[in-house]
Subunit: 246 residues, 2 copies
Amino acid sequence: MAKQNIYDNEVFFSEYRKLRKREVNANNLFELPTLFSLLPDLTGKRILDLGCGNGERCTDYLKRGAARVTGIDISEKMLAAAQIENSDPDITYLKMPMEDIGSIDDTFDVVLSSLALHYVEDFSGVVKNVYRLLCPGGIFLFSQEHPFTTCYSGTADRWTRDENGKKLYANIADYCVERRNDSKWFVEGVQRYHRTFSTIVNTLADTGFRILKMAEPCPTEEILHKYPEYCDLYHKPDFLFVKAVK
Amino acid sequence: MAKQNIYDNEVFFSEYRKLRKREVNANNLFELPTLFSLLPDLTGKRILDLGCGNGERCTDYLKRGAARVTGIDISEKMLAAAQIENSDPDITYLKMPMEDIGSIDDTFDVVLSSLALHYVEDFSGVVKNVYRLLCPGGIFLFSQEHPFTTCYSGTADRWTRDENGKKLYANIADYCVERRNDSKWFVEGVQRYHRTFSTIVNTLADTGFRILKMAEPCPTEEILHKYPEYCDLYHKPDFLFVKAVK
């Protein structure tokens, strides 16, 4: 199956880095606080971070008491940034697509993944390997693009607007048709895999995971007051989180 | 909290009965086959059916080997129909809103509910009582209107169409805003409670249930060939099923 490495595209890499360095972005406002709020106690834990990118989260996990963190990523550029920006004797970076973690000869207490699994075609294969790599009682917590977002094809109108341009409705098409959607995000041809809620839940349950928590983060009133442009998240959340236990 | 009894409305009751008697309807094509496919082995089991209506399913469960079935419903008219159409020494009908099942002094192996829970405001209260009424290892299987449907308010345009009237997109608005939506279905003021996927999953998980399966039924190619008008279910499924174990 295809293993996408869009982060090694020059343009994508540089634009993505700029986006993530902006102080106000959906990741900082919604994804990160939700990720942190769902983390189990990391004290003394062995962590695996799938799609670690520049290793920012790996450092966060160490700060929260993790004993050691293994970060894997398919992108050489992202890992080069990680070695400079988030190097630590207790962090090991491995260049590896998520689909290949079956080759890791280790055991972990917690497997984490932030906004990477929607790039993976073989979700079920990754989930099975995560299950195998976790110790009994181990936690798998991941975020991904929300199914309302992954189901957009590259050409679809995302919103129905009124005459003033105000977003009235999120346009959902072919939610039930699981597929790869290629769309433009900085560059053409970014591949996202659309899966329904049922498929995500059933893949975890069938593998043996017990689902503990699901989250679809929305702006708080405080954030909405400061950044009213994020009100459209009430129509359509950007992110989906699932926390499960082996 | 409000307990809705729309099925005792004269007009609603008679129109609803007509709809369900039509041979081709979404219930027969999609809801029922999915419900049956997700049923555990009922042989010798004690069943509770929440929102049993005219008792058709209670008879089905007996035919599938159940030892006894208790059907509860808030509607006197539906239960009167049940006594005539689906009477059996092994079926007990109780006139009771779902919110009051805490008063039942009994234990069940399987609790089932077909298309009723979206009428209930206190979902969490019902789930807690179901958990208490189930024996260890007992199964809770329910269907409800899909969250893409419950999130429609009475006044919203459900679809964006092209110039020929073809449905292009399901219009999703305020998915993240959990609320009661009053809309017209045969009569004005039918109340549905909108809950997100996260709330449904978390309510079950927090109560102690382990989620085994989720389903969002879609037409098979065979059904689509016969009834092409159901192609819009690919955009937006009508029903959501969840199967969980205590």
